[in-house]
């Protein structure tokens, strides 16, 4: 007797169920109201999702955001939430410097992701950056000119010199097994190869951008549309406020826009000027980002209650260089608690930073050098 066949024949007929309309709506609403996390799976490029809201069924708010996953120690200096010591002036200066930059036939965007984890070792725990990932995308300004997205794994590594010493003491392991949300994940110290995502290549000419308010198209915007978009900070504020997001989600949305689209310098300057006018956004002052670049940051806190609250305080910081270059966002601990009870405020929980966005006339290819 083939026992598995007998077992298959005995399968109860009513295991499957189809959700009724009410159940379906509640499930989708519940799921889609949660933030999407930074990618963790290794070895396959994935396209970023942008932030915003669309209707699902009757209506469901969709917020796609970075969320904290693992503890570690911040390479950035400690910061006090909402100190308000630095006003709008430095970001204005940066915005002024952003006015004059060249254009080209292709626009490239190179970004780096990372998540902090604590490795448990008998010789002493230490923090690493894992789930580290680099994406590179080029898009032709003209439709038909093409687009290609690449991804590669970056090596997991101890964060600070102290962490490096603890890692050496533990025998310099070449991989790290860490607890990540709901399972153990192993991150290695090797660098992955660039993989091009040909399946999702697009014809070019369009870019993801959510800052056009109700005029934003799901198919993206053309560079011409971006060029003609109002650069007035108040108008831009109005556009972004049409997306029902919390302040921190809104900063992530803006960050995604600046990473996904060739935002003309004047528009970028307008966006930077808009930041201090957004509800819930406050100045942080000077910071050092995970790629060790100095910049100036604005921040917004994540809610301290409700489904997005995970037992610790954190905020999203959006960072620009003093020359007006967009540097990225980082999710920073403000009040230790839950899995971050032993970390200090200022600890970077995770980040998504722009390694570089550039115009070029030559068909681009991803960089071979590591970002750190």
């Amino acid at each position: 007797m083939k026992i598995l066949d007998a077992l298959a024949a005995a399968r109860p007929a009513d295991l499957e169920a189809t959700p009724d309309a009410d159940r379906r709506y509640r499930d989708l609403d519940k799921a889609l109201s949660q933030p999407v996390e930074t990618p963790r799976r290794q070895g396959r490029p994935v396209r970023r999702l942008a932030i915003g809201v669309v209707a699902v069924g009757a209506a469901a708010a969709v917020a796609v955001a970075i969320s904290g996953q693992g503890p570690g120690r911040s390479p950035a200096p400690k910061k006090t939430p909402g100190d308000g010591k630095v006003g709008a002036e430095p970001i204005m200066l940066a915005a002024d410097k952003a006015e004059s930059q060249p254009l080209g036939r292709y626009w490239t965007s190179d970004t780096v992701w990372g998540v902090s984890y604590i490795v448990s070792a008998k010789t002493g725990n230490y923090a690493i950056t894992g789930a580290a990932w680099e994406t590179f995308e080029w898009t032709a300004v003209k439709a038909g000119g093409g687009n290609l997205f690449y991804g590669r794994d970056l090596p997991a590594r101890p964060q600070t010199p102290e962490d490096k010493a603890a890692w050496r003491k533990a025998g310099s392991p070449s991989s790290f097994r860490v607890w990540s949300n709901d399972h153990y994940q192993t991150y290695s110290r090797s660098t992955g190869r660039w993989e091009a995502d040909h399946r999702q290549a697009r014809p070019g000419g369009r870019f993801d951008f959510s800052g056009m308010g109700s005029k934003s198209s799901p198919n993206g915007v053309t560079f011409e549309q971006l060029r003609h978009l109002s650069t007035d900070p108040d108008q831009l504020r109005q556009n972004y406020l049409q997306n029902p997001q919390n302040p921190a989600q809104r900063l992530l949305s803006i960050s995604e826009d600046l990473m996904s689209a060739p935002v003309p310098p004047k528009l970028r300057a307008g966006i930077m000027r808009m930041l201090p006018r957004l509800p819930g956004v406050y100045s942080v002052g000077t910071v050092t980002d995970p790629l060790r670049r100095k910049g100036i940051a604005f921040a917004a806190d994540w809610p301290t209650s409700g489904p997005l609250y995970h037992g610790y305080g954190n905020r999203t910081e959006i960072v620009f260089s003093e020359d007006g270059e967009f540097l990225g966002t980082e999710n920073v601990l403000t009040e230790p608690g839950a899995e971050y009870a032993e970390q200090r405020p200022g600890f970077v929980i995770n980040y998504h930073v722009a390694r570089g966005s550039a115009w070029t006339d030559k068909k681009p290819s991803p960089p071979t050098k590591l970002p750190f």
Binding site: L4, L7, E16, A31, V64
Partner: protein
């Protein structure tokens, strides 16, 4: 607005396509009392980790459900819900065809196995997964899965040929010990 409503569209399509499969898995693992809740929670995680979704997605999604069951539900609650489910299966075999007895016997024998064995067997026999896919759900290598499946099959065969009230009771006790430790 979302500049990528594609993602939402793909997620809802994924939900519609795989809800019955995830529900079936949840029922077989924990009984229908908890199945809806587990399925709902599973799709929350799927959306949160939408960037990580592999192709094909089902083994990964079932792996999410499996982790949720292990981490978020007390063993006792699962055991009670599943015990009711096992009774339901054994008593509700449709009285059609020649093999009613055999089907009832298989289900009774299955009920005496450990939770781990039952999972190994049903992933392949009931949920239509290949051994590669089932190994992904369990989180082990294909080779390891084969070995475990082989042993589980042997135990199921033994349980079927050795099904007396006494042995059933003994195996059920062993099964409870194994699943709650």
């Amino acid at each position: 607005m979302v500049t990528d409503p594609d993602a939402v569209g793909r997620f809802t399509a994924l939900y519609d396509e795989f809800y019955p499969r995830v529900h079936a898995y949840a029922v077989s693992r924990t009984g229908r009392t908890l199945a809806e809740e587990v399925t709902s929670e599973t799709f929350c995680v799927v959306w949160r980790r939408f960037h990580d979704l592999p192709d094909p997605p089902l083994p990964w999604i079932l792996g999410v459900a499996r982790n949720l069951l292990r981490e978020n539900y007390r063993a006792k609650a699962r055991e009670e819900s599943l015990a009711a489910e096992l009774r339901h299966w054994a008593s509700s075999v449709p009285d059609i065809g020649e093999d009613v007895e055999e089907r009832t016997s298989v289900l009774r024998a299955l009920a005496t196995l450990s939770d781990a064995d039952r999972e190994l067997l049903t992933l392949v026999a009931w949920h239509g997964l290949s051994t590669d896919e089932a190994a992904k759900v369990i989180g082990c290598s294909r080779a390891t899965y084969f070995v475990r499946l082989h042993r589980a099959r042997k135990r199921l065969e033994r349980a079927m040929t050795d099904e007396t009230p006494e042995t059933v009771g003994r195996r059920a006790a062993a099964y409870r010990t194994e699943t709650t430790r």
